[in-house]
Amino acid sequence: MNPVLKLLIEGGSLSTAQMAQVLGLTDQEINSHLEQLKKDKIFLGWRPVLNLSQESAAAVRAVIEVKITPERGGGFNNFAQRISRFDEVESCYLMSGGYDLLVFVTGGSLQKVANFVSEKLSTIEGVLSTATHFMLRSYKEQHFLMEAPAEETGRLKVAP
């Protein structure tokens, strides 16, 4: 496996300079690894993981279960790609089970998310039904605990 990819999967937040140090490569080599991973569509990009619950800019988030009739020829893909293009959509997955697509949506307010569902999503031809669940509170995002226990675990500085 690409060594840079391994470091990325570990989930640390190393800068490219730090990655270069760890792997014994030059900064350019790290960048060219990243470029290659981007070309291969394995590494899609960076995004910060934020906890905005205390911020006035906090967005309303919802998870929407979508049932659709698959098209001949395109299957679910055309629908999924079309839905994914909306800015409101954070993530979109094809699912097994009781519905077809699971769509994560954010909006500035409850009203905006509701409008998106009623005016955009459910009006797409082929969408049979939607079930929208608003998120009330987040406990863990992308492996980060929201209420992380205190950093200091009382680990000794020197031990046998």
Partner: protein
């Protein structure tokens, strides 16, 4: 009243651990990057902690059998068979102990008569020699060398052997050197043990953290199971140092003898830790492998950087310790460590803590984050440069 006069002679003469000494200096300083910690930086995986919480909720708060929970002993036997190719009977060939430290202590107390001699390789873990002394035995150190990557050789063993030696203590992979033995080297040691009729106490606590090649247990070699007590624990592989849980496997008569000492001193290991240990053995392998992979990368990094800094550092095949030679700077390990701490606020452990022949080395534990390792090795490099400038 002269309270000191009440202390037993063999205890009063026992030196304090060199690590403890150094710890007290470090503890007074702020913002130190410590490579002096002999434990994983990972917290115990959550599924193991959760199993312990569940055990408490279910009211598992009582004594267990002196030997430990039979479910745990069964899980241990399965694990040892799968990973070390040695078969033990859970009923009478396994005892669960309070860490490998206790297993070492009760094994020596069960086996050693006053004056019996015990061979152990050096540099070694801090408790080996004192455990022998506390049982009124005599420790016989066998040196290992950087040129052999700190593997124990049968030649060194033969040179150190003297009449009256009864027991050979092995710690492969080794804290602090990361040294291990190849199968051929172990076979030569096994042959020597048979020839001199030595019993072997094999502490393999770092075996899961072997990065290059296979780990071989001496107990798995032909004819060795009957003369080996195999010691292992959960602290390093499963990041469970604070749980204090380990075990010993061996011939039933020897386990029975150890059980007597254990029964009258410790009674049994904590039931909560035992319950957590079952979870670790049954479902902990993936987590353990992920940790090992990270240690592996960190090892490659720190060894490279220490060598770039001008120290001579062999590649430890296992464990999470680098053990560079610092004698080239003109300082011994202790002066180097104290100087490094004062000048750059980086803590490493002076090698003398692990035996006199470690005096020109320091132990740097790489079980810490990349960020810290990068900063620490940069600082070590700076410190080495100032030492080199002084020398010229």
């Amino acid at each position: 009243m002269d309270t000191k006069a009440y202390i037993a002679r063999h205890v009063i003469n026992l030196p304090r651990s060199g690590i403890r000494d150094f710890f007290e200096i470090v503890a007074k300083m702020k913002n130190v990057i410590s490579l002096g910690i002999g434990e994983p930086d990972f917290d115990t995986p959550w599924h193991i902690r959760e199993a312990a919480i569940y055990a408490l909720e279910k009211g598992k708060t009582h004594y267990t059998s002196n030997l430990g929970l039979i479910e745990l002993r069964r899980a241990i036997c399965k694990y040892v068979e799968k990973n070390f190719a040695i078969t033990y009977k859970p009923e009478d060939e396994v005892i669960v102990t309070v860490g490998v430290s206790e297993a070492i202590d009760i094994a020596i107390r069960a086996l050693i008569n006053p004056g019996d001699k015990v061979l152990f390789h050096q540099p070694c873990y801090v408790s080996y020699h004192p455990s022998v002394t506390l049982a009124h035995g005599t420790g016989v150190p066998v040196p290992t060398y950087a040129k052999d990557n700190f593997a124990l050789t049968a030649e060194a063993l033969a040179a150190a052997w003297e009449p009256g030696c009864k027991l050979l203590m092995l710690n492969l992979p080794c804290n602090p050197t990361g040294g291990t033995c190849s199968r051929a080297q172990l076979e030569a040691i096994a042959k020597f043990a048979v020839e001199k009729d030595l019993l072997v106490l094999s502490d393999e606590i770092y075996s899961e953290l072997t990065f290059d090649g296979e780990h071989v247990s001496i107990a798995s070699l032909p004819g060795m199971q009957e003369r080996t007590i195999f010691l292992h624990g959960f602290s390093k592989a499963f990041a469970m140092t604070g749980w204090r849980i380990g075990y010993a496997c061996g011939p039933a008569e020897l386990i029975e003898a150890m059980m007597k000492v254990h029964q009258y001193s410790m009674m049994c290991a904590s039931i909560i830790s035992q319950e957590a240990a079952i979870e670790a053995l049954v479902r902990g392998e993936d987590g353990m492998k992920a940790m090992r992979e990270q240690y592996h990368r960190r090892r490659d990094f720190i060894v490279r950087r220490l060598n770039e800094a001008g120290l001579k550092c062999h590649v430890p095949r296992a464990s999470f310790y680098a053990f560079p030679y610092v004698g080239g700077t003109g300082l011994n390990g202790r002066d180097f460590a104290v100087g490094l701490l004062e000048a750059q606020k980086v803590a490493v452990v002076p090698g003398a803590a692990f035996g006199a022949n470690g005096a020109d080395f320091v132990r740097a534990c790489f079980a810490t984050s990349y960020e810290q390792l990068i900063e620490a090795t940069d600082k070590i490099e700076k410190y080495c440069q100032t030492l080199a400038a002084k020398k010229n």
